[in-house]
């Protein structure tokens, strides 16, 4: 049961500031994801927490224990962490059993060591593989051995650096699900670096969105997906439509998708209106048969995925086509006219 707390952390490589006054608290026992584009500093943050990079400022606490302040930076081997790098990093010269028991030499009896290795192999479902060498295992099995090795010392915190990126697509979801379930079952505080937004949304309890060395938003998956603080941030958790709009006093909206029926009336009144942007998720727009109730759009392109489809819609008043996700067994034709309706929550970003 350990909270991970990072306060005002700064990391510099020469003159370059990679992390700037970064603060982050991962609640005890939760599975957190660090999500951001390449080069935003998420791997650097993870490695700094592991003790592999020396920070230039700030503090890191595991529970109540300080592991890193300016005067004292604990080396990695004194932090009691589990670390899963991008590549599994299994020791090629050791067997599966020796890999798992790698950290169990000091102060651990031979019998106890054996028992822990057994337990770990049980945990990851690899009984009977003890004497294999890493290269004799499949990719998924290697990842599970790496996890067992990381968990063998019952670490307070587990750090995962894009742990499943080496696995092929089909295997990835399964292994990821297993690993996350296991970490949650053992109530280990975990932090995973990823650039795969679906991976983060599906598996994490909390997500920290990173940009240019900062955590820009932190919250539950639903929270960061539904209430992004900017268009750019919204982009990092899913596709987003930026719709130019006007907002009148009292909250009434006018945009290519809103207030069509009363547009004439609204513009007639010289009411004060605020210009801004509406952030809309593609699945928050419904497509209807054309009628007077809804703004009209012309289907310009159809991207068919089987279980659903994305339509590129041309709509008057918008320069860019609107990308809309539609499900179900409805058939569309390029060139035909449809009516569109926005039904999701209003996310207003002022200009």
């Amino acid at each position: 049961m350990t909270t991970l707390e990072v306060t005002d952390l700064g990391v510099k490589f020469g003159e370059r500031e990679i992390l700037k006054n970064l603060s982050l608290t991962i609640p005890s026992g939760s599975y957190a994801a660090l999500l951001g584009p390449s080069g935003c500093g998420k791997t650097t943050l993870l490695r700094t927490i592991a003790g592999l990079i020396r920070p230039s400022s700030g503090a890191i606490r595991f529970g109540k224990k300080l592991v890193s302040v300016s005067s004292l930076v604990l080396p990695p081997h004194k932090r009691n962490i589990g670390y899963l790098p991008q590549e599994d990093g299994l020791f090629p010269h050791l067997t599966v059993g020796e890999n798992i028991g790698f950290a169990l030499t000091r102060n651990v009896q031979v019998l106890e060591r054996k028992a822990i290795i057994e337990e770990m192999m049980d945990l990851v479902g690899l009984n009977g593989f003890e004497n294999r060498k890493p290269h004799e295992l499949s990719g998924g099995q290697q990842t599970r051995v790496a996890l067992a090795r990381a968990l063998a010392t019952k670490p307070a915190i587990v750090l995962l650096d894009e742990p499943f990126s080496n696995l092929d697509q089909a295997l990835r979801a399964d292994v990821s699900e297993e690993v996350v379930a296991l970490l949650k079952r053992t109530k280990t505080t975990s932090l995973m670096v990823t650039h795969d937004r679906e991976d983060a949304l599906v598996s994490a309890d909390v997500i920290a969105l990173m940009r240019e060395g900062h955590v820009v938003q932190f919250g539950t998956p639903e929270n960061v997906y539904m209430q992004p603080i900017s268009a750019e941030i919204a982009e990092s958790t899913g596709d987003v439509i930026e719709l130019p709009a006007k907002r009148f006093k009292g909250g009434r909206l006018v945009s290519p998708l809103h207030g069509v029926a009363s547009r004439a009336a609204a513009s007639a009144k010289t009411q004060k209106a605020e210009l801004g942007t509406l952030l809309i998720r593609p699945e928050e727009i419904k497509v209807h048969t054309p009628s007077r109730k809804y703004p009209k759009a012309i289907i310009r392109e159809i991207h068919y995925y089987g279980h659903d489809a994305i339509l590129d819609l041309e709509i008057s008043g918008l320069r860019k086509n609107l990308r809309v996700r539609v499900g179900g067994p409805i058939s569309y034709k390029v060139g035909s006219t449809v009516g569109v309706e926005h039904f999701g929550p209003i996310r207003w970003v002022s200009r």
């Binding site: 370059r16 390449s38 003790g51 592999l52 081997h77 670390y83 991008q86 090629p92 010269h93 090795r149």
Partner: protein, 521 residues
């Protein structure tokens, strides 16, 4: 994340790299000190000479002539060996030859024949001429494998898709080689050629037997004629200077050759040429090389061995083998002890490591005879170690340390960084990480480097002659003693045995399938 992530690119930022254990630093300084010792004694001895003697030495020994002979022999050998080596490597890499694995091992094997053994075989025939051309031929044939090895290794790294593209762009096979393949192998092959040049500069046995006046022979004559160590040391200095230049050129071209191939990608092997004409030409070429470089000397030795008038002195033979193996093993062990700290420091790119590595390289430029001379001077200051097995083994260790350091450094640097990081997160401190992760994974390379020292030490002649304890005979000295007085038949069993012993590590090292990355554990 991509490899461009700053956390991975700027590896030196990690705190793991910033602190080096004091023990390692002490070991590094020790190695640096030990390596500097022969250079110090050589200079010290040379400085003791007076102006008059200096004039006599350079006048009497016609040093300008010696210089020209030495350099032309070295350059000539390197050039011919380069052409031969590229030709052999190209044939092996591009033509579908039957028995490829065997041929590959055989073309490397001439390395195991010391040049003085080859020269002895040449002379034992009785009617072949001595002189510059004979030395050129003998040295070329024994050194070609250095180029072959370098060229083979780089040929395999040239992506066949580039060759495909070149051919679709309208280049024929020869143009493709000239414009696509050659620029990529050029630096590695040049490094091999420079190794050949260095070998010739330091060669003593072949030039002495074949009567070519190079620096090494002049040094030996001065030393033996008058036991005048100062004059000999003065003669050694220009040789050391030339060798250092070659070493410097070699190491910088080798480094440039690395830049070419540092990108990580999957290399597809070029398809073999299966036409009968290509097979015939390649086989003929390789057969001619092998028959002159391998079959001829071996059959001459065997012939001498069979037709010897007296029975073999088995006791002396066994004694010499044991002496050779034990003192060479001791030398290899010393080299391992010295190489480990230097290699570790160099792999971490610490300043001390880079300096020690340079020192090791500089000493590598010392020909065996010069090393012998320097350590004789050292021994005259410390008579207790003079003419002991320890000093001889020590001489081997410093002479061939560069081979051990090179191989050890490369294999240590190749241990994936993430493995040592994981070991750190798994509660291991630096020394534990080294013992439990780095060393076991690097072991094949470390072992190969040690084997190289062992192999070179067994063949080393001049340093052995100068530093051995009185009455201590190795295979090399027995060959030399008998050949010098034209007892060719008596030398034959020693020469054959030395080749057989030296062939084993040569064969092990040159096997291309020794590669743990393919899961060879």
């Amino acid at each position: 994340m991509t490899s461009l992530d700053p956390a991975r690119v700027l590896k030196r930022e990690s705190p793991n790299d910033s602190k080096t254990s004091p023990l390692l630093i002490i070991a590094g300084f020790m190695a640096l000190f030990i390596v500097a010792l022969p250079l110090f004694y050589l200079t010290k001895r040379a400085l003791q000479i007076d102006a008059e003697t200096l004039r006599i030495v350079f006048w009497r020994f016609k040093s300008a002539e010696i210089l020209i002979t030495t350099i032309s022999l070295s350059v000539g050998t390197a050039m011919i060996a380069t052409l031969l080596g590229i030709g052999i490597a190209w044939s092996l890499n591009s033509v579908a030859l039957p028995g490829l694995g065997l041929i590959r091992a055989l073309v490397i094997l001439p390395i195991a024949i010391p040049s003085y053994v080859f020269a002895y075989a040449w002379l034992s025939l009785g009617f072949l001429p001595k002189g510059f051309l004979a030395a050129l031929l003998v040295l070329t044939l024994t050194t070609t494998p250095y180029v072959t090895l370098a060229a083979l290794a780089t040929f395999q790294r040239v992506d066949s898709s580039q060759i495909d593209v070149a051919q679709t762009l309208g280049l024929n096979q020869i143009e493709t080689f000239r414009r696509v393949t050659f620029p990529q192998i050029r630096n590695a092959v040049a490094a091999g050629s420079l190794l050949v040049a260095l070998y010739v500069l330091s060669d003593f046995g072949a030039v002495s037997l074949l009567g070519v006046d190079t620096f090494t022979r002049a040094i030996q004559n001065t030393y033996q004629g008058s036991f005048d160590r100062s004059s000999a040391s003065i003669l050694a200095l220009p040789l050391v200077a030339i060798s250092s230049l070659v070493i410097y050129a070699e190491s910088s071209t080798r480094q440039r050759s690395r830049v070419f191939t540092s990108s990580v990608r999957i290399v597809k092997r070029a398809p073999f040429n299966r036409s009968n004409r290509a097979k015939f030409l390649a086989l003929t070429f390789i057969f001619v090389y092998l028959s002159v470089a391998l079959i001829m000397p071996l059959s001459l030795l065997i012939n001498r061995f069979i037709s010897r008038p007296k029975p073999i002195d088995v006791a002396a033979l066994i004694q010499a083998s044991i002496s050779t193996i034990s003192v060479s093993l001791l030398g290899a062990f010393f080299a391992l002890l010295l190489a480990l700290p230097v290699a570790v420091l160099a792999a971490r790119r610490s300043r001390l490591g880079l300096w020690s590595e340079r020192g090791v390289l500089l000493v590598h430029a010392l020909p065996g005879i010069v090393m012998g001379l320097a350590l004789v001077s050292f021994g005259s200051d410390f008579p207790t170690v003079y003419q002991t097995l320890g000093l001889l083994a020590f001489a081997y260790a410093i002479l061939f340390l560069a081979r051990s350091v090179g191989s050890t450094r490369t294999s240590i640097a190749k241990v994936p960084k993430n493995l040592t990081e994981i070991a750190a997160t798994l509660g291991q401190n630096r020394s534990k990480i080294f013992l439990r992760v780095t060393l076991p994974i690097a072991a094949p390379g470390v072992l190969a480097g040690t084997l190289l020292v062992f192999l070179s030490a067994m063949k080393e002649l001049p340093a052995t002659l100068m530093l051995r304890p009185t009455g201590f005979e190795t295979l090399a000295t027995e060959i030399w003693n008998n050949t010098a007085i034209f007892r060719f038949s008596e030398a034959a069993p020693y020469a054959l045995l030395l080749i057989v012993i030296a062939a084993i590590p040569t064969f092990l090292i040159s096997r291309p399938d020794r590669d743990f990355e393919k899961g060879g554990y």
